[in-house]
Structure formats: C-alpha cells, structure tokens
Assembly symmetry: C2
Homo-oligomer: 197 residues x 2
Amino acid sequence: MTKVVAFMSMSLDGYVADLEDGVDEVFDWYFAGDVDVPTFNPGFTFHVSEASAEHLRALMGEVGSMLTGRRTSDRADAWGGQHPFGVPAYVVTHQMPEGWPRSDSAVHFVTDGLESAVAQAKAAAGDKIVGMHGPDTIRQCLDAGLLDEIRIDLVPLLLGSGIRMFDRVENAPVTLGNPTVVEGVGVTHLSYPVLKE
Amino acid sequence: MTKVVAFMSMSLDGYVADLEDGVDEVFDWYFAGDVDVPTFNPGFTFHVSEASAEHLRALMGEVGSMLTGRRTSDRADAWGGQHPFGVPAYVVTHQMPEGWPRSDSAVHFVTDGLESAVAQAKAAAGDKIVGMHGPDTIRQCLDAGLLDEIRIDLVPLLLGSGIRMFDRVENAPVTLGNPTVVEGVGVTHLSYPVLKE
C-alpha cells in the first residue's frame, strides 16, 4: 500500500513558520552542516550533517510524488513547474491558478477535493511514498484518516509565535507509534507511524 | 554552578495536560514498561522501559531540590509534605496556604518571588541540580534568564487541546543547543541546553 507521509520542520514549541510565513529559522538545519545533498533542482543544494544527509538521501529515494496545499505551492511559485525532489507534485486547491494546467509541468493542481488529490498522488507514487508538506493539508489528511506517518524535523528553538504544525486536530487524541529517531545537528528527525483503529 | 532544569512530559502537539488539567495521557509512559523504578514515596513506583528506567534513575540521582508553581503543588496536595524524589521542594506562590509553613515538612512555600525561590532551591540543591515542574513557572524562569536546561519527555500523541508547554514565551526566538536523546517506549527523552548570550 502506498503510504502518505507528512514531513515538516517544527520548532520545539510547535511552529512551522513565523507569523510572516517565514521559515528561515526552522529550515536553518538544511544549511547547518558541511555535507552537500543535491536536489533535482541544480540551484538548490542542502548542506547538512552526515546523519541528516543520510536521512535526506533516503527520504528523497523513497518519495514517489508530493502532495501539498496551495499556500505551500504559492510560496514556492509552484517550484517553477518541477518539485525539487524530481517527482510529480499534486496541489490541493479550490481554483485552478491563472495559466494552469500546463502540459510541460510536473506540478498538477487538483480542484476536486483532497481525496481525489491523495488518490492521484498515490497512483503517481506507485510503490514509493506520497510526501506531504503544509500544516493545513496535513491536518485535513489526518482528520480524514488518510495519513500514515508523521515525520517531524524537530528544531532546538522556541519560536514563541507563528504558524502551528498541529492546530485544531479533530478526533483527538490521536495515538502515534514509537518514533524512529535520527540525531542530526540543529535537528532531530522523528518519524511517527499514525496508529489506526 | 547549580543548574536549573525543567522537566515535563509533552505530547507531540505541545500539550502537558488536557483541558481538565488531566495528565494521564502524557504520563502514560511512566506506567508503560515492566522495569520498576521506586521513588522516595513507597506508594509510588514507576513501571517503564529499561531505557527510561536508566534515564529516571540518573535523573533522580541528579536532582538536589525541586521548584514548582502553586498549581502543580496543589494538584499533588503538596506531595503530603515530601516530594517523591526525596528532596526539598520549593513552591512559588503569592500567598502562604492555610496550615503552612510546617516545621516537619520538606515542602517550602516561597511568597517573595521567583528569584528568591530559585535562590533557595539552588542553595538546597548544593552541587546537584534544581528540577522544575509546571509550564507557567518554567516559562517565567525562561523569560527571566534563570533556566539552564529543558528536558522534554516527548510523547507520541496528538492531544488536540489542553494546557500548552510553551505559551507566550518572551524574548523569542530562544535558541537551544542540540539535545541528548534517549529512546524509551511511549516516550522520547530530549534534553536541551538553553543557550545564553
């Protein structure tokens, strides 16, 4: 079964971005080491610790498609039509953006709902995983019982304010399994299975 | 220098108790294993995984005194006059409770402010650490620059609502150091040094 896996960088006090949607603080670890991890986008290379490099390489090898919300996509300008992980990306949105769909793009806007987007992303991922970004879309998937794993890159920082990773989770409490743990520098990678009844 | 060290069990979404002040969910791990860890209170034994048992034994050996807020103390009925860690406890409060101070008790209510309470707890701890409980009191210590370490027992659970561990932190962002990590069962023990300028 194709797994749907959320991954987000989060401060210890639960924020994924500051109040201006800025992610510099929580993404700091992507550039805090001396091991280069190239992405599919030649202009975009991570510089991380050896432990995080292994973690990221494994992750990028695992991901068969990406699923995000419109906000995440807009912030990245639809990744110029190609997500940096080099896989098809599905963006849940209410309305097709101006100039889309584009036949030459690996970014697909889905306007007929989350379940459809998940189904399309799963079909594209094949035997790999669907990676998810964006707290709102992740929460909607969690609430709908469509999320299989939550991978938090936990950053040693108290941001004090901003956009929360977990806000208004329905059907709480949600029980997770014991995480696998990878200790990086400036980040602790925690991967939790979502336990389903 | 005597260190002031906060320790709290927290859900992955940042709660230390539910909306009714209940801690059963986040304290579950204290009773989720088969290794007994006795406390100073003969009626109160933890049952945890081997990794958590080692962690707890080391912690209890390290703590020279405890510092908490009034709410934590009230909820525990002032631990019957003896904190289960077997060390003097200092409780920050605005008003001396009815029936206190008691000459036969190792629990001390401090009515002249947080700094005084920290100073008294440090003097009592000697070359050991001051352990802290209670999110409000911990936050006040953090804001006042009096906190040296934050140890989070991170529980694989989304509580959805409740009392937050980190709420309205001043002087944010607060940068922490890389944590030491102990992987338990139903809990991940993360110890972060608070970096001071």
